[in-house]
Symmetry: C2
Subunit: 164 residues, 2 copies
């Protein structure tokens, strides 16, 4: 019997269901969302997210770096996303007067109305396939869990040394 028959260390079944389940749900939801946004609005999820974040802030304008910091993409990626959005007229770029290295991405009126259309179906989709499966107390519980994970920055004390 070759060494390849040896058991491989892995997650416990419980861990696998919790972690693997998150990966699975995220993957399926993203497929649905990407397809929906592409069909209805010809935009990708990251593009949608940039529009959304711009809509949240005063003046509907953000420094490129701030957009990148809040996004899953790198600055390079965001630079191209903003370029694509500018090309179809959903955002404008404007050089920052207080720091001439920088630039703002600014949501246009066309961007706002596109975002409104996108959000309508998007919110319905996410509710139907995800949020509506949970009650308000469960959603609160879930949000609290994510905050707990988010607050976990690297801490050596989380490393348990092998007992001697």
């Amino acid at each position: 019997m070759s060494s390849s028959e040896t058991e491989i260390e892995a997650f416990t079944p419980l861990e696998g269901d919790a972690w693997g389940g998150l990966l699975g749900v995220h993957g399926r939801m993203m497929r649905l969302i990407e397809r929906d946004l592409a069909e209805r609005c010809q935009i990708s999820h990251v593009e949608f997210e940039v529009l959304l974040r711009l809509s949240w802030v005063e003046g509907r304008r953000m420094r490129i770096q701030d957009v990148a910091a809040e996004s899953v993409l790198t600055r390079s990626g965001i630079s191209r996303v903003v370029e694509r959005l500018e090309r179809v007229g959903l955002v404008n770029r404007e050089s920052a007067p207080e720091d001439r290295r920088g630039a703002y991405a600014i949501l246009t009126d066309a961007g706002v109305s596109m975002l409104r259309t996108a959000l309508e179906g998007h919110v319905a989709l996410v509710r139907e396939r995800f949020l509506n499966q949970f009650g308000p107390d469960e959603l609160e519980q879930m949000a609290a869990w994510w905050r707990r994970v988010e607050d976990t920055r690297y801490d050596p004390r989380n490393h348990r040394s092998e007992p001697t």
Copy 2:
């Protein structure tokens, strides 16, 4: 005041925290995981996942289409992933005798040992940054939630028609 100043429909704060939190946690975890696997094993997360799934089944072999069905990638994508894994000797491809259109991806011994190395650090990472934030009962609760979402296939009854 232009129409762009109108309020935009969106998730409730509670929904935003639950859904946005999931996206955020997934994004941060994936960044950590991709970096870790790339540094320690020079493989991507999807490659790792294919190796892992192969290790779970009898004979450590799967039809390409079955790998694709369980993965987040399309058949086309999986075809290339298997090709890359074959090129570095972690899997073999073998034509299926019972259906000569098909092919098996088979985990090699080198693949098993690579997977063992990859898993060691990977499990530690996911535990430290995610799983360890939850107790066993909480993990069970989370797994049940994912099952609930998974069981939700498209059902017209979930569509609430606008009240007239």
